[in-house]
């Protein structure tokens, strides 16, 4: 039992400890929230993590550089390509590997599509949490399936692609497939996003539940270490794709989606806008795709020089940092992940008090947890 600080709620009598999770329909994985509630008002909350700690960082030290890509897929299983790319970029910078031009474009394309699918899962989760019985959930899954068909045709697997390699990507994408995807993203997909928007942001019940719930200023969020769409909804323009361009982001025309309000509804709007923006970027990437090789020659027994490298990328949930350290052998000396959701989640005890139990799910949906990356 944890000793909660007893912060008095107006008119409260006795508080009750409510354990939400680890097996609970709305925790999106195996998160455990210890909520002290007075009536239905949360007095204090404490997230308990570690139910999915698989020791990925340690396991990575006993595998070769190439094999670790398999593990990075499983870090944040909703944004697989982002993790792969972050890791590959780190190792490539460490070993000084040049990535072919086309491979960079392909990587950017898949990562942006990954941002779409990841946000679709966020959409599915948040609508489920506010009680919409799975209809928007399933609508989001329909579009997601189209993109997943594409993933499978390209990478060979639906969820765990293991597609990026050190120095490029595994398989090239032929132009027919790209064109099909471009048609979908340009024609059908915006229509679906309109529907998603109408069912979530346009719905008066959702507005009454989300407006003014969990309002935080950008300064506060930065202090807590929150990054990603949750921060951008409070007016900050912090986006590594613009600030520190990597991949081919410097050659793309896109805007950073922000909102000034900073409540839960604004976070929904920002994520929906990011879905549209990513779809637009994907179309640009497919149009501007150069030809050429997709994979540089890298030895299977790669031995990067001694040293360490840390890279930052903008994953769908925020800033994903990867540190790799090499001692000159075929295996990493250290592999460390700066998980965006871990820091976002650690702000929950500050965010939740004095909200209702139902608001917990709304605020929860605002930061979009994925336990695989928090626990690693």
């Amino acid at each position: 039992m944890v000793n909660f600080p007893r912060k008095g709620v107006e008119g409260s009598t006795e508080t009750m400890l409510l354990n939400v999770g680890p097996q609970h329909p709305s925790t999106h994985g195996v998160l455990h929230m210890m909520c002290e509630i007075s009536g239905e008002t949360i007095v204090s909350a404490k997230p308990v993590i570690g139910y999915l700690h698989r020791g990925i960082e340690k396991l990575a030290e006993s595998r070769t550089w190439q094999q670790d890509i398999v593990l990075t897929d499983r870090l944040d299983y909703v944004a697989q390509f982002s993790n792969e790319w972050a890791y590959c970029r780190a190792v490539e910078r460490l070993a000084g590997i040049e990535v072919p031009e086309r491979a960079e474009w392909l990587r950017t394309l898949l990562v942006e599509m990954n941002r779409i699918t990841s946000h679709l899962i966020w959409y599915a989760g948040v609508t489920m949490d506010i009680g919409a019985l799975g209809t928007p959930f399933i609508y989001a899954w329909v579009a997601r399936e189209r993109i997943f068909d594409f993933y499978e045709a390209v990478t060979g697997a639906r969820v765990m692609p293991n597609w990026m390699r050190l120095g490029g990507v595994h398989t090239d994408i032929d132009s027919a497939m790209l064109k099909e995807m471009r048609d979908f993203l340009e024609r059908d997909f915006p229509v679906e996003v309109d529907e998603y928007e109408a069912l979530l942001v346009g719905n008066e019940i959702v507005q009454s539940r989300m407006k003014g719930i969990g309002v935080f200023s950008a300064e506060q969020l930065v202090e807590w270490g929150v990054t990603g769409p949750a921060l951008r909804a409070s007016g900050s323009e912090r986006d590594l794709r613009k600030d520190v361009p990597y991949g081919v982001y410097d050659r793309l025309d896109f805007r950073v989606c922000t909102d000034d309000v900073g409540d839960s509804l604004a976070r929904c709007r920002v994520r929906l806008a990011e879905i549209r923006e990513s779809a637009r970027m994907c179309v640009q990437i497919i149009d501007g795709m150069p030809g050429g090789d997709v994979r540089a020659k890298v030895s299977r027994a790669l031995k990067p020089p001694v040293g360490d490298v840390c890279v930052r990328t903008e994953s769908p949930r925020g800033e994903l940092g990867v540190l790799v350290a090499s001692d000159g052998t075929t295996k990493p000396l250290r592999f460390r992940v700066r998980s965006p959701i871990f820091y976002n989640l650690s702000a929950m005890p500050h965010m939740l008090p004095n909200h209702l139990l139902a608001d917990m799910l709304v605020i929860f949906g605002g930061i979009d947890t994925s336990m695989g990356e928090i626990d690693r």
Partner: protein, 215 residues
């Protein structure tokens, strides 16, 4: 006649009732909505529009009390194991367990980890194993149909098929030696594997047989 019989020679009413129960149980499998890791995404996909679990009367219940099937969709860590067992114990008999994906079958890629159990069967009686990482939604659907077949083949007469209660095992009871071994995979094959932290037994590009390293 026939209502109360011994298990060896069931009477007409008993067998009819047995048939009815098996029919009902096999056609109404409600899995408990317990997502653990990556495979839960494919589990949700199977419940969504494209594959639609509901066609077979499979419908997710949030409360384990009302569920019949537990799909274990991911690696079971030491911290999660008592929770998984508790969810299983909360389910009403008869209940079944599906181990979905490599992690739930044998620990998968995390079997070397200090914190992951070598498969769900170390703590739960597993009925159906679905290989894949994660299995395709069709594969999960196929596994559920296999379970449906299993249920309709399992006689409801006689003694209980499973222990009624899995005693919750505390994490301390798993010594570290158990983890990282190849123990959950004994099926006649003797595995001689290179030590994980030692250099590979065969160096890359075996001198005689393998050609020059191309990539």
């Amino acid at each position: 006649m026939g209502v109360v019989d011994d298990a060896e020679q069931p009477g007409f009413i008993t067998t009819t009732l047995d048939k009815l129960l098996r029919w009902g149980r096999s056609r109404s499998m409600w899995p408990v909505n317990a997502g653990i890791a990556c495979c839960s995404l494919e589990m949700m996909t199977t419940g969504a529009a494209r594959y639609d679990f509901d066609r077979f009367g499979i419908m997710f219940r949030s409360s384990p009390r009302q569920a019949d099937v537990m799909i274990v969709p991911g690696p079971i860590t030491k911290k999660m194991a008592p929770i998984v067992q508790r969810v299983y114990n909360q389910m009403a008999e008869p209940r079944w367990v599906i181990a979905m994906g490599s992690c739930a079958i044998s620990g998968g890629t995390f079997v070397d980890s200090y914190n992951v159990l070598p498969g769900a069967e170390t703590i739960l009686p597993v009925d159906i194993y679905i290989p894949g990482c994660p299995p395709r939604p069709e594969a999960l659907l196929y596994g559920c149909l296999q379970l449906k077949k299993l249920i309709s083949e399992t006689s409801t007469i006689g003694s209980s098929r499973k222990p009624m209660y899995v005693p919750p095992v505390l994490p301390e009871e798993w010594p570290l030696e158990l983890l990282g071994e190849y123990d959950a995979l004994e099926a006649g094959a003797v595995w001689v594997q290179p030590e994980r932290d030692s250099p590979p037994v065969t160096p890359l590009g075996d001198a005689e047989s393998a050609p020059e390293d191309e990539l």
